[in-house]
């Protein structure tokens, strides 16, 4: 509990309407998009509207060693915005302006509370896009997606958030303001602090301004859906497409459990006996190149044993192909009350091995696991369908999750491709980085946030 004096100070800084303390309000900030993590109430929710206010809040928190959990839209899937040690939840949603669109330099400067889609809408008239495309693009904030380094459906060809962050302004744990990077494409001055704060999950400081790279919007695209009756063939097709030097913008996979669930939910005519479905889209700015690439992809899928290929001949048909993929998570989520969604990621060539391992894990622990994801970049989403209130089953779920991470690491992969570590995966970090690796990270954390007030309980687990 914070003292009334501190609450009064906060009210003085941001005004009464931007300080929430009622139990009802606090409950609504005790969770985010993550399943199977504890819900914890903050002491207060503070919504700043200016940088000056943020600095004052941080100085106050630093003086009294109050934890700050910075929050955007709270759509993350790693428990990254749950206030593990109570304290202040800092809601950035009213700090949401586009400060500059510099079309000449292909750069935009935004405040962190801006919803990603608003940036895309603002740059569309210039014929530009901001490529990172997480599933939550219409709700998630720029600050949140930079802090989680989110990925999405276009990662294979266009990269992920960190590939587009050029510069940041950050309020440090002691209230200092620093600027990193800038608008120039080339910039090797000093340590690359931009990359350090990108994906730091709010554990090192509070981002107050983001400079991002924009690219010209691709003018042409062709999409298709390829159906396979065994996983190996689908995996071979994925590898062969890349081997033939075609980099699709989208290369998504759904396994049999997902296909059956989606079909049962959306009734869109998917073959429920198929082992895997690939959703593939190629795009570019030269029509002939796009068409040639599309032909190559079709040929490879056929050669690798696709039993059926559906080509989208209109925007409407494209929408229905993508609808199948987009329905994956909601369809799976309807099967059981709790949906544990992981994002363990392996090198692309190991996708068939990973899918086989997931199948075995599901059998071993007698669980229903549907897997879909971004096959092109090796980022799979094994989704365990379960029920939080069933303690016995949840024990099996946790064992299965342990094993999923172990397999992913053995195959040369990583714990998280795009969702972040947060509180959900903190305990596995040492498995990936060893004691030495964790010690280096801890030293960085301690140097920048000696009192541990920046989003405690994340990345490193509890104190």
């Amino acid at each position: 509990m914070l003292s009334q004096n501190i609450l009064n100070e906060l009210i003085k800084i941001v005004g009464k309407e931007n300080v929430l303390t009622s139990k009802e309000d606090l409950i609504t900030y005790s969770f985010d998009g993550t399943a199977d993590v504890p819900h914890i109430l903050p002491d207060v929710v503070v919504t700043p509207t200016t940088k000056e206010q943020i600095v004052k809040i941080v100085k106050l928190a630093s003086q009294h060693k109050i934890p700050i959990t910075t929050r955007g839209s709270g759509t993350n899937l790693s428990g990254g915005t749950i206030p593990v040690e109570n304290g202040i939840v800092l809601s950035m949603l009213k700090f949401d302006k586009i400060l500059e669109i510099d079309a000449e330099n292909l750069v935009a400067v935004v405040q962190p509370g801006l919803v990603i889609q608003r940036l895309n809408e603002a740059v569309a008239p210039y014929g530009l896009i901001y490529p990172p495309d997480p599933g939550t693009v219409t709700t998630a904030t720029m600050g949140g997606s930079v802090s989680e380094c989110s990925g999405g459906l276009r990662g294979l060809k266009y990269g992920v958030t960190k590939d587009y962050v050029m510069g940041l302004e950050v309020v440090m744990a002691n209230g200092d303001i620093i600027r990193t990077g800038g608008k120039t494409v080339k910039n090797v001055s000093g340590y690359d602090l931009t990359k350090l704060f990108t994906g730091a999950e709010g554990t090192l400081g509070i981002i107050t301004e983001i400079t991002v790279k924009l690219i010209p919007a691709p003018k042409y695209r062709r999409s298709m859906l390829a159906i396979f009756d065994n996983i190996e063939n689908a995996g071979k097709a994925i590898a062969d497409i890349i081997k033939n030097q075609v980099i699709p913008a989208t290369l998504e996979i759904m396994d049999n459990v997902t296909i059956r669930t989606v079909e049962n939910y959306a009734k869109i005519g998917l073959p429920t006996d198929a082992a895997a479905i690939l959703v593939i889209e190629v795009d570019g700015s030269v029509e002939q190149v796009v068409l040639n690439e599309f032909d190559t992809v079709q040929r490879i899928c056929k050669e690798d044993g696709a039993t059926q290929i559906k080509i989208a001949n209109s925007d409407k048909e494209r929408d229905s192909i993508f609808a199948a993929r987009r329905a994956a998570l909601p369809a799976l989520a309807q099967v059981k009350p709790t949906t544990v969604l992981e994002d363990a990621t392996v090198p692309r060539s190991k996708i068939p091995d990973m899918l086989k391992a997931l199948d075995e894990i599901a059998k071993k622990y007698n669980l229903k696991i549907g897997t879909f994801g971004h096959a092109g970049d090796g980022n799979l989403h094994p989704t365990i369908l379960t029920d939080e209130s069933n303690t016995e089953e949840m024990e099996r779920v946790h064992k299965a999750v342990d094993e999923i991470f172990k397999v992913a690491l053995e195959l040369g992969g990583t714990l998280s491709g795009e969702h972040g570590i947060g509180m959900a995966k903190a305990k596995y970090m040492e498995l990936q980085f060893g004691k030495e690796g964790m010690a280096v990270m801890k030293k960085i954390k301690d140097a920048l946030d000696p009192d541990g007030i920046m989003n405690p309980g994340k990345m490193f687990g509890g104190n």
Binding site: E24, I27, T28, L329
Partner: protein, 433 residues
């Protein structure tokens, strides 16, 4: 089995279905203004869940949060898991009223609604004395309140009709060789305020050779009462309507307001879930309910030879309960597009709530108007000469908003435009002969 209005347990499955993804943030008109988790669906669902789990009492704070919902169903339509958020909200409001009682002012108002005679008389008396209370606005068909009786002083309230629709028209309107026989549920706004729209609706039915019965004993559909959680009163009002309409031998029951239609189609059934006798009767009535535009397009067939020119550029606003409640969004557009001389210009976010939500605009006036401002901005951007919509409460809100944000174009019910088109054709036929 207890209904969702008698026990929160009945909406447990809906609550469990919410995976807290936050997609509701994209479309919730209140959240987009407030930017607070307590204002959006997943936050309110979490609160109701906390009540069910015993982590939260039925507090005043909970009531305030639950009041922050327009029941516009935008989140329901958008939810990847298909969670029926409005069910959870309505059930929780009902539980709250059962636990804590109804606010005394609401109790007095709903008490009147329950006794249709008294309500109808009150509204009629109101029309005689309204000049005392409301100052007429110069250009708009509306008036500023002169005395502050709980209404915001900036608000434009349309005048009550000197004679309500149901007193103006006979109970049975016969036609030669009728192709269909329908009952017309007028709703309060058409009966007491937008009488011209009500007359237009009857004219349109007559022009299509449809016999119309306008039962005198009908009253408020009870949506405002349901929205505030007084489900016991809803039950009484619903019973009286079910009894009244069960007696009629008609093909269809016509509504001209999505909220009234949704009550008959959906909420009366929910209310009678524990009462097989009334559920069966209500179901028969529900199956007969049809919005006027759907009736014309799908049941009668839009006869283009009857349509004369209406030279106007219009834009169409989708009422939430008509669009997402009754699923009517194409028929009004088909009617408008078929009318010669009329140009339909779609506005951005035509299906976003206008912020009225019936009495929400009374209880949360400033928030309601900040939501509404986007609607007026989108209307302005179309440069249309008029706004067309299919719900009296929306018309009321649009009228107020036009005044507040300085945009003076007329607002019509879809059926009024159709009646204009029929009249234009008749006139040209007359002058030709």
């Amino acid at each position: 089995m207890a209904t969702m209005y008698d026990s929160l347990d009945a909406v447990k499955a809906e609550i469990l279905n919410c995976m807290k993804c936050g997609n509701c943030q994209e479309v919730c008109p209140i959240y987009l203004e407030e930017k607070k988790e307590g204002a959006v669906a997943r936050g309110k669902i979490k609160l109701v869940d906390a009540v069910l789990k015993g982590d939260l009492e039925y507090t005043e704070g909970l009531a305030e949060k639950l009041a922050l919902c327009l029941t516009c169903k935008a989140c329901v339509k958008h939810c990847p898991c298909g969670v029926q958020v409005d069910k959870i909200i309505l059930a929780a409001r009902s539980a709250l009223v059962k636990k804590k009682g109804l606010h005394p002012i609401k109790k007095a108002i709903f008490g009147t609604l329950k006794r249709p005679g008294l309500f109808n008389m009150g509204m009629k008396t109101g029309s005689m004395f309204q000049g005392l209370a409301f100052k007429k606005h110069k250009t708009l068909n509306g008036a500023y309140p002169r005395f502050p009786f709980g209404l915001d002083m900036r608000r434009i309230i349309p005048p009550l009709a000197t004679t309500p629709l149901r007193n103006l028209l006979p109970e049975v309107i016969k036609v030669d060789k009728p192709v269909k026989k329908v009952a017309f549920f007028t709703g309060c706004t058409m009966n007491f305020i937008y009488v011209d729209a009500g007359k237009a609706l009857v004219d349109v039915l007559k022009a299509n050779n449809v016999e119309v019965i306008i039962p005198k004993d009908q009253h408020c559909c009870a949506m405002p009462v349901l929205a505030h959680g007084d489900s016991d009163t809803v039950k009484e009002m619903a019973k009286s309507h079910v009894d009244l309409f069960s007696k009629l031998d008609v093909d269809k029951i016509i509504t001209a307001c999505g909220s009234c239609g949704s009550m008959f189609q959906k909420h009366y059934l929910e209310i009678f879930e524990d009462n097989p006798e009334y559920y069966a009767k209500a179901k028969k009535i529900a199956d007969k309910i049809m919005d006027i535009s759907d009736f014309i397009v799908k049941e009668i067939g839009l006869d283009e030879s009857k349509l004369g020119p209406v030279n106007m550029k219009v834009t169409y606003h989708d009422p939430c309960h008509l669009n997402r409640g009754m699923g009517v969004k194409d028929s009004p557009r088909q009617i408008l597009k078929a009318i010669p001389g009329l140009e339909l210009i779609e506005m951005k976010h035509a299906d976003r709530c206008c912020g009225s939500a019936g009495s929400f605009s009374l209880t949360h006036y400033d928030l309601s108007m900040s939501i509404h401002k986007h609607k007026i901005d989108n209307i302005k951007a179309t440069k249309a000469d008029a706004v067309v919509t299919g719900c009296g409460a929306c018309i009321m809100q649009l009228g107020d908003g036009m005044n507040r944000f300085n945009h003076n174009v007329p607002i019509y019910h879809t059926v009024e435009i159709l009646a204009k088109s029929y009249a234009a054709k008749k006139k040209s036929e007359k002058s030709a002969s």
